[in-house]
Assembly symmetry: C2
Homo-oligomer: 138 residues x 2
Amino acid sequence: MAEQHELRDRGLRLTPQRELVLAAVRELGHATPEEVAEKVRQSHPGINLSTVYRNLETLENVGLVLHTHLGHGGATYHAAEELTHLHLVCGVCGSVGDAPIEAAASFVTSLADDFGFRTDVSHFAIYGTCADCFDPNL
Amino acid sequence: MAEQHELRDRGLRLTPQRELVLAAVRELGHATPEEVAEKVRQSHPGINLSTVYRNLETLENVGLVLHTHLGHGGATYHAAEELTHLHLVCGVCGSVGDAPIEAAASFVTSLADDFGFRTDVSHFAIYGTCADCFDPNL
DNA sequence: AATAAAGATGCGAATCCCTCGCAAGTAGTG
DNA sequence: CACTACTTGCGAGGGATTCGCATCTTTATT
Ligand SMILES: [Mn+2]
Ligand SMILES: [Mn+2]
Ligand SMILES: [Zn+2]
Ligand SMILES: [Zn+2]
């Protein structure tokens, strides 16, 4: 018989902590492990940070969650189904803007054609200077 | 009178450690602070890791050195004059391939035109799967 | 419903990587 | 040579992530 839960379907046990971590990632958009923990603690105060780390890793292994690198430091997590945009990170003000992933389509195609390289444009941020920080007047 | 040394020219004192750190970055291509320290220790065994970190930062401040993010962890350093390529990092085998920076030219242009965003395509790696790891046969 | 085995959790300790504080040493200046 | 500012080595400090392990839970089986 077919399974009936997105976690069990992927061979994972269903624990309250696990469900809460996944729900938190989905609600938060971009989130660091620390932010996920904070969110989860709103309903389950006792959750341990290492449990959050372990579940993020587990959920990533089964494809429900992905991580990206938006800054010089640690990773941030996304629900897998939401990772449909580029991250434009400004090195001056630190803002994280979004751009449609299609903006990179021809770049991705040419890397594939010319180098045989399959690009995941969302894994690392696109780094630079945002319009506000570049424009001298404002 | 004009100055005569690339470090003094930029207002920096000339110390053996500083020169060695810069030389190591130039010889190594991509290097982590730890790797730079190792290299420098070949001729100056007593150098301290924090001295390496401090000098990398100082050299970066005056534009002789730059850092990039090639992996999930810390930064790697380049001589500024060498940073003329994209880094294609394979998530499967970990290889770091190079591609000419022109491969991103139209992508950079469209981000500027459409979003006013000035992109530094070398600061973060381009992440994906290399030809060897993608091609099933080999 | 009771049992057993595998897997998950909480907790504290341990790592890793990088930054600081400070006293001693050194480069640049005249 | 003497002075001052900058650097260095070293040890301590921090933040983030990972581990080890004893104690629960979940799930599959009686
Ligand atoms: Mn950076
Ligand atoms: Mn990553
Ligand atoms: Zn900005
Ligand atoms: Zn590869």
